[in-house]
Structure formats: structure tokens, C-alpha cells
Amino acid sequence: MKVPRHWRETPQRYRMEAGKCSKCGSIQFPGRVICPDCGATEMETVKLSGKGELASYTVIRVAPTGFTDLAPYAVGVVQLEEGMRVMGQVVDCDPDNLKIGDRLTTQFRRINEEGKTGMILYGFKFVPDLGL
């Protein structure tokens, strides 16, 4: 995969930057040009807290290329404090003990490597929110 494809997503993947509608206040991740809730086109950039509750999850046993060495691993959809849901891996916990409603927060982690000579991709993963 080419470098620009990942480089252009850096604000979302490294800093969890989202778009906030200047008219209705709805927050979208990733940001968009048009607010899907009210149709307005004036959006401002906001940074998400990364904190929220697990809305649903799965434990991947049969992993896609690039993730096989991680399996089994959990992927969740997390309802963030700002109101929208975000997908990401849930790590630093026993995936078999996850429950819907678990409090989670985000950390900056390595996502995977594109083969021996490809890019090393980084982004956010969810971890248990210990309130520290």
C-alpha cells in the first residue's frame, strides 16, 4: 500500500481528530464535509477524549493477513463520551472477560506491519480505563 494513503489519515489515527458541525453540534469521526444529521457544511476540527463504553465486541480467531500473529484478539465498537461510536482493537485485557458496558480509553499503539519491507502502521487501540 502506498504511503499517502496512511499519511493523509494521520490526524484521525494519531490524534483522534473529529469533525464538529458548527450548526447542530453533532460530532463525526472521521470528519466529513457535510453533516449527516443536519446537512450543514461548516465543520470545525475537535479532538476526541478517546474515553467511552464498549457497545459491542468480538474476539477474532481467524485473522486477516497482517494480523495473524495477534489472534485471538478483541475488536470493539466503543461509544465515546462525545456521543459517536468508534471501532478499534481492545487490548491489555483478557478478551474472554470483556463485557458490553466496560469502560475503555485509548492509547497510541502499533496496529500492524505491511510485510517485511512495508510500512509499520500506528493508530489508537482501546484499553481498560482504570481511571488513572
Binding site: 489515527r13 468480538t58 482493537q89
Partner: protein
Amino acid sequence: MKEVAVIGIGMIDWGELWEKSLRTIAVEAALKCFADAGVDKVDTITIGCMSGGLFNNQEHLGSIVPDYLGQRFVPATRVESACASGGLAVRSAFLEVASGMAEYALAIGVEKMTDVDGGEATFALATAADQDYEAFHGITFPGLYAMMANAHMFKYGTTLEQLAQPSVKNHFNGSMNPHAQYPFKVSLEQVMNSTKVADPLRLLHCSPITDGAAAVLLAPVEKAKEMNKPYVVITGVGHASDTIALAQRQDLYSLKAVEVAAQRALKMSGKTIKDVDFAEVHDCFSIAELMVMEAIGVVEPGQSGAAVMNGLTALDGDFPINPSGGLKSKGHPVGATGVAQVCEAVSQLRGESGKRQVKNAKTALTQNMGGSGASSVVHILEARS
């Protein structure tokens, strides 16, 4: 708008067809359809195929298919909506006939998935999800539906037994379908103890990787009447889209695009779901069949699990679902599935389905779905004589 009839159907035997190519299976299904209709020349061709590019390094199906089907110079269009590409092909052919642009409109669905290994097939299928915000995190298609299953179980108390039952029912039906990839029965225990794929989904909750093709020929209803035999009319067409990313849906335990598409199709046909005798639905994973039952209105939200255990959707139940065996037993060559659903509906409505025939089948619903519910195409078909 002209009234549109299905005047021919063509199904081939599905499976791992090592000796046949993408173009070969598309042509075989179309020729069976031509033979059924007694037609050998068409005005337009629509091909539903999710990814000839990723599965076979072959795009431009709008040339290769008419070329090898003896239809050189006929206009042909390939349409794509992930696993709903087949349903979309039927819809596109419908629009050509309904608008008067064409008399004979052929819709072919095709996918040749075993030309790549399992990892590459998984990658190709995952392109139906949001590449930058879902696949990036290592999610798979079983994983997306598994998250919907967990959400459904949490919201409604759906049990693991209820989650397994659609697979048992569909394999029972598919055991009577000579075209099915896996025409054998499975037990609830076998489903519930099969290999884990993405919790809570196991191998026997998941539809397989399949090579297959199917074709239908549409024409104005006057042409069907000239054939002097029972025919089937498409009276409703519904199509809807939703967010590509599962996380951004209104909730994780319902399929809004399916609900909207079904409502549109039923409204167009002037019917309600109570007027429908049976359905072919998109059970790519067993949870999908349960959620589709709720989305099209067969049962209230949260009631699908109990209903499938009570036999509502069995072949001899009040509302049979997937008499063909569904994607689970018949196979799921993604672009072909939506066309094959229409083939099964027509076969049933013509009373030609043999041992798996639904009794007194007069009105059918077919529901095809793309991605994790990000697009859906629904058709209503009615028997005429």
C-alpha cells in the same frame, strides 16, 4: 412504467469449480436461462459481480460476458454493491424493461472466488467494509456480524441456540437442493461446537466461499403471456443504502437499510409482509437471517430467535425462509447470490422446486445485502398464470 416479468431463470451447480473460469460459469448460467425462456438474443445485459478484479484480476465484465455469450455488440454493464451486486443487477435489468429501453434484459450474477487462497478472499471481501476505519483495525466480515450478534444478544437476550438454528434449518432445506454447495444436514450441536471464527460466530454460522453464477431474463409482461405457461411478475423493487461503517449506524442490533428497502418494495407492490408467502434472505451469517426477519417485519424486533426455534421459518412453517438452503448451504458466490435468490423465488412460484417446494406459494420476497448491512436490495415477486 411497464409491468416486468421474469421469463427465464438459469442456475448452475455451485461449489469449488476448479475446472471452470469466471467467464465460463457466467455463460453457463446465462445459457440455462436462455433455454428456460426460449430466447437466444437479448437487448441488454447487466452483470452483478463484486470483485472480478480482486478474485480473478479480471475487470471489464461488460465486454467479456457478452463476447463469450454470443451477444457481441449488445450493451452490457457490470454493477457492484458488494454482496448485493446480484440484487442490484436484477434491479438494473428491471429498470431497463420497465422504462421501455429494452424488451429482453438479462441479469447475470457471478463470482469466482476460489482462484485466490483464503487470505486473499478474506481481503477481497473486506473491501466491502470501510477500509480506512474498519479493516485497518483487523476486523473481518465474520467479526462485523459477530459484533451485531453480541449486540442483539445483549439487547434482546437472544441465545446461542437461537443463533445456531438458522444454520440447521437452512442446511435441512439445502439438502434438497441439487445446486447447493453443501447439500447435507447439520445438527444444532454440530453448529454450536464448530470451530470458532469470531466470537460468538463459529464456522457453521458462516456462509462459505463459493464459485457460482445465476441468471434471470426479464421482459415486458406481454412477452410472458405469449409463452402460454405460468410466469412470475416483479411487482416491487426496493433499494437502500446506509453508513458503510458499522460503528456509525443508528444502532448495532438492527438493519435499517434492509427495513427501508423492504418497505419501499412492499409499498410499490401494494402489499404488506403479511401478504408474502415466503422469502429468500441474505443469511451470510446466521445472525443476519435473524436480524433480517425483524427488519422486513416478519417478527417484531427481538422476536426472531424465538420464532426460528418455534419453526415459523421452516419449510412447513407459516413463513418459510430460505427454502433454497440460503447462503449457508447453497453457497455464497457474492455477486451471484442476489440473482440466485430471484431464481429460487421464481422456481418456487412456478411450483418447480421439487422436494423443497413451499406449499401454495403465490408471493415471494427476496432480500440481498451488501457489506455489514450498508446496502440492500429487495424484490417482491408474484405468480401469474
